[in-house]
Amino acid sequence: MSIVLVGVNHKSTPLAVRELLALSDDACATGLRSLVDGEIVREGLIVSTCNRVEVLTETAAGRLNETTERVIEFLTRANELPRSEFEKDLYLHTDDQAVRHLFRVASSLDSMVVGEPQVLGQVRRAYSIALEAGTTGRILNRLVHHAFRVAKRVRTETGIAANAVSISYMAVELGKKIFDSFAGRTALLIGAGEMAELAARHLVNAGVSNVLLANRSEEPARALATELGGTSVPFSRLTDHLSRADIVICSTAADDYIVTERMMRAASAKRRNRPVFFIDISVPRNIDPAVGKIPNVFVFDIDDLESVVSSNIREREREAQRAELIVESEIMQFQQALRALESGPAIGALKQMFQDIARHEFKRQRNRLGPLTAEQESGIESLLLSTVNKLSHPMLSQMRHSSDASDAEIIEAWRDIFDLED
């Protein structure tokens, strides 16, 4: 048997092609049913997201080319797309490589933004579709569950998903660093730009209690205020509102400073120097950089946020190197589990066969033994079984040993000797 993975992702293929290849849930299910024939392709699973389309199969030994051919044919048929469009972009991974690839995908090491949490859910979804379609079996079930385990280990043992990598989340993260919790805090939105709105939404989700909106034209502010569960306040009395706000998000089209150092000094004194966190997403800037020199006032403009985000991305990539080590060690563990899975039935069958011989012989000779009590009868049976087990034990453990060492020739020899089914 062999594990084969054929597919494209955001690194191998441009979006224009990926979007043509993408499959709906239903298309995945019907496609899997036609692809898996139980003989050449024995098990199958399709992961289709905006960043990747991958077909994972468990294939009979030595049928690699046929499998690849079938998968390409399937992708051509399912999308009515000439194969020349995408064939050159396809990557093919087999066995350990395929296992490694799936582990990396599930752990979000293969994602565009390393550590993003969605991909694991997408793999879960792909698995449940295949499960429903009945195209997974012994090997893929084991493999996918192992992949979930790897993803969990990577998430808990490395900082791969630790720090915010988008500007609006960054606002929440820095806010937490200053205020610990947002309960009872007030956010002031100056201007109603799209980015400010997004950041405000994140803050509300994170628990900010009050939202104040100040906008030059009051209509859009009022609309957004009802949406966010906040209050619209007059723009002209900004200094008053500043003294109430713990977090200020500013994004207007004004080409001058809206919050000046003098305004903020007054506001800061009024709020007894409690800390204030400014996020200035407007270009040109609306908050005088000198405001940041006031004690306990922290001002972040768009450039500051972007540089923090990119340093967080670098930090994630460093953590990803640690995650790769986890993946490698898990591949070894999976290999071992797989070997046990493969040789387990053969060894079990052999043991069963020996015991059956013993029971059969006992039954054959039973008549010649004359009347026996129930204890005597079970005594003889256990005598026979334990003799058979003791005699076969060294052999069976030798078999297990060679299957752990994946010595294919010896395993084959054992099978030949005892005439075992594959």
Partner: protein, 272 residues
């Protein structure tokens, strides 16, 4: 009692190492090991102190060895309270290695036998143990103020400069460390005030004088003044942040002078 103290040391070292590793790797499992070891160590330590008291026949806070061990015990108690109240685990990374070090010194130091002051002489009064116990707890509280202040300053600096190092993501928030520093300073000052008062009371009952002009007394008075000003400064205009944190750091330097410096300069307070 040496063997019991060594067991305490082992538990604290395990707790310290796991706290540092948990801080670096951000692993919950390591933190749990650290906390379990800490609880074990603290219980053994309490037992060791009680055993000392019963066997030696005097309150186990007189010789340097005892003082260091007792100080470590107060630090662990303070850290446990902070852990319980604020879940500020990062403090352990800095407190527990110090605790281990103090217990180590205590374990390798031999009891002074030919001291100029016999513990028997201070045995009759309850004032002396109260005086020393309160002051050691005050020192522990001021150490917490110091650590929290340093954490505040580091983070405030990084927020102002907008460059975040590895340590930034591992420390408690500004609000939390500010709260820890403020409440610890208030508790520490209260303990220090009562501690100094009982000391004076005891001294006056001994030789009729409240004040001996001894270096330890002078440093203690300075320390007291500094923390009073810190509390006053914090309460006058609300959140004081950076400057208050600097006072917290400076205050601890004075505490160190009180604790060690005075010992070296001699005077009335010849012991621990």
């Amino acid at each position: 009692m040496r063997s019991l103290l060594l067991a305490v040391l082992a538990a604290y070292v395990v707790a310290a190492i796991h706290a540092v590793l948990a801080f670096i790797n951000k692993r919950r499992a390591l933190q749990r090991v650290s906390e379990a070891a800490l609880v074990t160590g603290f219980l053994l330590h309490t037992g060791a102190l009680a055993a000392d008291w019963i066997i030696d026949g005097h309150y186990p806070l007189f010789f340097l060895r005892e003082t260091l061990s007792f100080l470590a015990w107060t630090l662990v108690a303070s850290y446990s309270l902070i852990l319980f109240r604020y879940r500020a685990r990062a403090l352990g990374t800095f407190i527990l290695p110090l605790v281990s070090f103090l217990v180590f010194i205590a374990a390798v130091t031999h009891s002074e036998t030919a001291g100029s002051t016999n513990p028997i002489a201070v045995r009759d009064t309850w004032l002396f143990p109260v005086h020393t116990t309160l002051l050691l707890f005050a020192y522990a509280a001021f150490f917490v103020v110091f650590i929290a202040s340093v954490m505040y300053l580091l983070q405030e600096r990084e927020l102002k400069l907008k460059t975040f190092g590895a340590i930034f993501h591992r420390l408690p928030s500004l609000t939390t460390v500010n709260e820890i520093a403020t409440s610890s300073a208030a508790i520490g000052l209260t303990l220090l005030t009562v501690g100094i008062a009982t000391g004076m009371l005891w001294a006056s009952s001994r030789d009729g004088r409240l004040w001996h002009n001894d270096p330890k007394e002078i440093f203690a008075a300075l320390t007291w003044l500094l923390y009073v000003s810190l509390i006053a400064y914090r309460s006058t205009a609300g959140w004081r942040g950076r400057r208050a944190a600097w006072i917290g750091v400076a205050g601890f330097a004075l505490v160190l002078c009180t604790f060690f410096g005075a010992r070296m300069m001699g005077g009335y307070h010849v012991f621990g």
